[in-house]
């Protein structure tokens, strides 16, 4: 038991070291988590699950993301905050290539997924392959107008899972993980549209979890929900981090403070600052971040 965890720690610090090596090659003022991780105790350091490197993105001729460098630590919740139009959702949607559904968009640079070092935004990478590895939960709950069961099973069916018992098992597992099983176990065959907004959103989370994604993206997942449903989703997000690496966009700073381990502040398409959430909200190092979190604009 000890040896295994020792090996894992060693493995993680080796990865952290690699990251640091990469970082030192970049501009010295580039915000990066690896600097931060260096400060933390080695045992708590987390391996990077993905890292954006010099990521630029255009809608037509309009550059929406400018030279973004960010490391997403594994099994942690990273939050993206910033005023409307700052590019946080645009950045999030690069991770599962949602922009490819739209004509006239262009990526440059890389988002490297570890450990196999696939460039998620590379032209050589199939967007469907990317979406099979990285799940997403959207702003407004968007269940299919099908039964609860079929909603959660859909991703599995796409992956060729057709056995009745296997489907049932994995659907149940996903619904349990999304903390909605007890509420829907007797109505699996009812339409998901008959559920409340918060329940729908948790079914959508279950739908994304069912296929065991490597990263789960949340795009303002509670902005259409009431406070009680929001609290449930937030609690769920903090619990889920042990299963999956999470990246969440939110315009609600309290939410970022409550659920995330790391927070990145974006402004006008640039990444201004990234740090441990507690540090960002108590002692940010950039003036722009401080102005935003103290409510001077936004």
């Amino acid at each position: 038991m000890n040896t295994i965890s020792d090996t894992m720690t060693a493995n993680k610090s080796r990865q952290a070291a690699t990251m640091q090596g990469e970082t030192s090659a970049q501009d010295s003022d580039t915000p990066s988590l690896s600097i931060l991780m260096d400060d933390r105790k080695a045992s708590r350091a987390n391996a990077a699950k993905a890292s954006a490197e010099k990521l630029n993105f255009w809608y037509g001729s309009n550059q929406a993301l400018k030279n973004i460098n960010l490391v997403i630590p594994e099994h942690q919740v990273s939050a993206l905050i910033g005023p409307s139009g700052c590019g946080k959702s645009t950045f999030l949607r690069c991770f599962n290539r949602m922009h490819d559904l739209q004509a006239d968009t262009k990526y440059e640079g890389a988002i490297t997924l570890r450990p196999d070092n696939v460039n998620l935004v590379g032209p050589e990478t199939d967007p469907i392959e990317v979406r099979m590895r990285i799940g997403m939960v959207f702003q407004k709950p968007n269940p299919f107008p099908k039964s609860v069961f079929e909603n959660v099973a859909y991703g599995l069916r796409l992956r060729g899972v057709n056995g009745r018992t296997e489907l049932a098992e994995r659907v149940e597992k996903a619904l349990r993980a999304a903390a909605i099983w007890d509420e829907v176990k007797d109505r699996l065959n009812e339409s998901a549209l008959a559920l409340s907004g918060g329940q729908m959103q948790r079914v959508c989370i279950a739908r994304a979890l069912a296929t065991d994604p490597e990263i789960l993206l949340f795009d303002e997942p509670t902005s259409a929900l009431d406070p009680i449903a929001t609290a449930k989703i937030e609690e769920l997000i903090t619990e889920l981090r042990s299963r999956v690496t999470i990246l969440i966009v939110t315009h609600n700073m309290q939410q970022a403070a409550r659920v995330s381990d790391f927070t990145a502040f974006m402004y006008l398409g640039e990444l201004v600052e990234v740090d441990a959430t507690s540090k960002i909200f108590t002692n940010p190092s950039k003036k722009a971040t401080e102005d935003y979190i103290t409510g001077r604009y936004g």
Binding site: N96, L101, A103, G135, F138, N142, P145, Y154, A208, T211
Partner: protein
Amino acid sequence: MAATAHLTLEEIRKGLSWRKQLDKAFTVLGLALLFCCLGILAILFFDLVRDGSSRFGWDFFTSFPSRKAENAGILSAAVGTMLIMVVTALVALPLGVAAAIYLEEYAPKNWFTGIIEINVTNLAGVPSIIYGLLALGLFVYQFNFGQSVLTAGLTLALLILPIVIVATRESLRAVPKAIREAAYGLGATRWEVTKDHVLPYSTGGILTGLILGLSRAIGETAPIITIGALSFIAFLPPSPVTGEFPFLNFEWLMSEFTAMPIQMFNWVSRPDQAFQANAAAAGAILLGMTLAMNAVAIWIRYRFRKKISW
């Protein structure tokens, strides 16, 4: 500035009562115009029913046309119309839906697609007799389909294709982007998104469009006359279902036919007054068929709306 800006209570009430009267006036005007339209339809229908009342009866439905007005019936015309509608629906549905899916989901947005789209819309405005001429040249003489049920069905399918395409595109477009994103987000391909989600959720709108198209086609006379339908048919096409293996037979496709509007046209143009009653009765039945199809379309739309609400 602000102190003098607001109105007194009296001024507010006076202005409001005038504006509310305008509101009422428009309601009355709208209702009046609506009843005008419905009234014309009702008068038309009841006039046909009254004129044809002497002819309604089981015999009218089970008799072939005859030289004697009191013996004549609509059997061959009604059967012909139904068979033509079957061919039309079977051709127009897959072609129209496939074209709409391509245009809506697959086609890149460029000038070429733009031209296709404009022309599909333009096709809906082409006079129906032009379709008849096209069919006469293409189906009757070029393909040698003859003056058959098949030719008539294909012609009417062409005629309603734009209606089906436009209706289908509209119902595909009504599927919210969020639903497509949900499916794409799970790793679905474009075809999987279309067949598992977009198509099933827009079935109601597609079927409604098809039925509205068919109810337009059922009354079309000009194109069917152009391809040379006969008006005196005293036999039925071979039955599509037979007692012997393989139980289906497609000879009816090549059979000569007549249809409801043609039968009606034929009777109207007879000098004998007694045939006018036959024409009126056939007209009432045709109108009834159209209204029934529209009712089915409304019912389908209602059913699907209830099941799927975004």
